[in-house]
């Protein structure tokens, strides 16, 4: 697990419509948070290679950032781009649901 709050992948500065800006909110290095980060990395590598950025925000260090994205649950993954904003909470262990939540797979009826 890398140091949280660092950017995991350098991202191009341009506003590419097919660019994925993701934020993972955590609170310290709890099991849930570590699992979530791992799961997220795997999913991104597999489905979004080269066109994503993950920002990890530790609310214990920056509590004021919690209100911006209306964070209640930990961990929370926020898809800031592409719009609309999506939120996924939990340790992201259910890959299917993560993909649905990120709109990478159509919602099952």
């Amino acid at each position: 697990m890398p140091e949280p709050t660092t950017t995991a992948n350098p991202a191009p500065k341009t506003m590419n419509p097919d660019f994925w800006d993701l934020r993972l909110y955590v609170a310290g290095e709890t099991t849930n948070c570590l699992v979530a980060f791992d799961n997220l990395k795997h999913i991104c590598e597999k489905h979004l290679e080269g066109k994503y950025r993950i920002q990890v925000i530790d609310l214990l260090k920056n509590p004021q950032l919690s209100s911006g994205d209306q964070i209640l649950a930990i961990p929370t993954l926020v898809r800031r781009l592409p719009e609309p904003v999506r939120k996924i909470i939990g340790d992201l262990s259910n890959t299917e649901r993560v993909l649905v939540g990120l709109d990478l797979r159509p919602r099952s009826v």
Binding site: L59, L60, P63, S66, L72, A73, V85, I89, G90, S93
Partner: protein, 588 residues
């Protein structure tokens, strides 16, 4: 006074003893602190629950605002349903300036939005974000108070209720550790206090708010269901959301502990004062004026108000049937000019239709007015119109509490009561008359095609009072009480009284004339007699004179005889014997 002290001693749980047992956090909400004997449990969460529109959020905000303004305890409001600007706008009308408090770092408002449709749940999570946000908000201003409004939104926003429950349990434990006094609001559930059973987690103090509609009238009520480690009022107390926020009325908790004053106040009608032991009503007593329509109850009330305001005392006039301007116009016509007192701020009118609100709300409003205006007299005109919003026992109980409330403050209360046409006036008032100290009855006396007003004092506790009927006359000169004509076994009033008086006057005059004539006659006879006496006396005098003359003549004659006899004897040379005899006769 003595009995009052006894009751006080017998009262359970003096507030001082409770305070040492459990630290309390005053809410600053009028009435609530009295019911809870000091406030909410300090450093612990309190659950406030009730249906929609009960005033839960308002109670929470007031708790924070009072804390920030009056007790120097900053507070945090975490709102799950409304945004900061919405909340601010909602309470601005109640005189609370949330943005200013936020600027002054006395208040933090954090609105949390939970939208189920935006959230996808995958796997295990906790509510650490909420804790972080709360912790940050509390620490940023050193908050001592917290309101979570309504935390139940989490249940509808998150599907894993097991996690929400365990996290809430953790949250309340964490809040206790932090030592903040918290209010958690909850929506009322079906058959349970809250929809999601929050009362399980918040077990220290539970307050239930209620908004009940009865006969189309809505009354808000508050009840402290439980308060661990402290005595509290257990009744349902009506509360009001007024211009200054919530006020709860622990009117039901009042006892008969008030002090009785020996001071007296004028009734505004001098003759009535003299009927009431020459001094008028007792200060702080309850006065009932009952009578049929148009018998002059309001006029008597106006006389009292006028007199009180002239003494510089404040009066509160609660009118249930007439508008203030109408009352003032009508009272002007009998010489009571009340408008200047209104302008001076001595007289305050409060006119409402009884059907505007429920009985409890009326009471609550009156209590609020009395508290704010601090009058020395309150007029309720007429008290019987409250029957429109409650049945007789309810009105009686409400009036008993109102009487307690006013007496407890030493406020003189004057109630007018309209008696229905057919009823006997003494009977229909039984419900409230026992609460009253002085009871005046204005009665229409009907005779010879005329209605006149008669005024009686049915009772007046603690003073000697007249037992007589007075005729009660309203005119441009004000109120006059006149003696009724009670001669020849009848009570006469009005024109009959005037006619009777006229008749009596005529009779008296005739009698006077007769007497004068008699006197003249006697005078004449006496003069006659005197004249007779005079003439008799003259006659007597002349008789006397005649008698004297007669005697003188007789004496002269005797002298002549004696002298003649002496001459004779001398001439006859009589002896000495004869001379002696003659001398003896002379000496006789």
């Amino acid at each position: 006074m003595k009995s009052g002290r006894n009751i006080e001693l017998a009262a359970p749980a003096s507030p001082g003893a409770v305070k040492t047992a459990l630290a309390k956090c005053p809410t600053g909400i009028r009435g609530l602190d009295e019911i809870t004997q000091g406030g909410l449990p300090q450093g612990r969460p309190t659950l406030v629950c009730g249906g929609a529109g009960c005033g839960k959020t308002l109670l929470g905000i007031e708790f924070l605002v009072h804390g920030a303004v009056d007790y120097e305890e900053p507070g945090v409001l975490m709102a799950f349903e409304e945004s900061e600007s919405e909340l601010g706008a909602n309470v601005t009308s109640l005189g609370m300036d949330l943005p200013r408090l936020v600027r002054e770092n006395k208040l933090r408002i954090d609105s949390v939005r939970v939208e189920r449709s935006e959230i996808q749940e995958t796997g295990d999570y906790d509510l650490g974000g909420l804790f972080v946000r709360l912790g940050a908000a509390i620490d940023s201003i050193g908050a001592k108070r917290l309101v979570l409004d309504t935390v139940e939104v989490l249940f509808s926003g998150l599907s894993n209720h097991a996690i929400v429950r365990s996290e809430l349990r953790r949250l309340f434990g964490w809040l206790k550790e932090k030592g903040v006094t918290a209010i958690i609001t909850g929506e009322r559930g079906d058959g349970t206090m809250t929809r999601y059973g929050l009362e399980e987690y918040v077990a220290d103090c539970v307050i239930v708010l209620d908004n009940r509609v009865l006969d189309q009238l809505c009354t808000r009520r508050l009840r402290v269901v439980k308060y661990r480690g402290s005595a509290h009022g257990t009744n349902e107390y009506p509360f009001l959301v007024g211009k200054t926020g919530i006020s709860v009325l622990p009117i039901t908790s009042m006892g008969l502990e008030y002090q009785a004053s020996t001071k007296r106040v004028s009734t505004g009608v001098p003759r009535l004062d003299s009927m009431l032991g020459s001094q008028g009503y007792y200060l702080g007593s309850s006065v009932l004026i009952s009578g049929a329509a148009g018998s002059g109850k309001t006029s008597l009330a106006a006389a009292f108000v006028h007199a009180a305001c002239q003494r510089g005392e404040k009066c509160l006039y609660l009118a249930f049937e007439e508008s203030p301007s109408q009352i003032m116009r009508n009272m002007q016509s009998i010489g009571f000019s009340l408008e200047p007192f209104v302008k001076k701020g001595l007289l305050q009118y409060q006119a409402t239709r009884p059907s505007n609100e429920g009985l409890e709300s009326h009471l609550a409003r009156i209590e609020g007015l009395v508290h704010a205006f601090q009058p020395s007299a309150v007029i309720v005109d007429p008290v019987t119109s409250l029957l429109a919003v409650g049945d007789a026992p309810e009105v009686k109980s409400a009036l008993a509490r109102l009487t307690d409330l006013l007496k407890g403050r030493g406020v003189t209360a004057l109630y007018t009561s309209l008696t229905a046409g057919g009823d006997s006036p003494e009977q229909s008032e039984v419900g409230i008359s026992s609460l009253m100290d002085t009871w005046l009855l204005v009665r229409n006396l009907e005779s010879e095609g005329e209605r006149n007003r008669g005024l009686y004092i049915l009772k007046s506790r603690g003073m000697s009072h007249s037992n007589q009927v007075r005729e009660f006359v309203l005119s441009g000169k004000g109120i006059q009480l006149l003696d009724v004509y009670t001669g020849s076994g009848k009570v006469l009033t009005g024109a009959a009284r005037l006619a009777q008086e006229e008749r009596a006057r005529a009779e008296e005059e005739a009698h006077q004339q007769e007497m004068a004539a008699k006197r003249a006659e006697i005078e004449r006879r006496r003069a006659e007699t005197a004249a007779q006496i005079e003439s008799l006396r003259a006659a007597l005098k002349s008789e006397d004179r005649e008698l004297t003359q007669l005697a003188a003549a007789a004496a002269a004659r005797q002298k002549g005889i004696t002298r003649g006899r002496a001459d004779l004897s001398r001439s006859r040379m009589a002896d000495s014997d004869s001379a002696t005899v003659a001398g003896g006769t002379d000496g006789r």
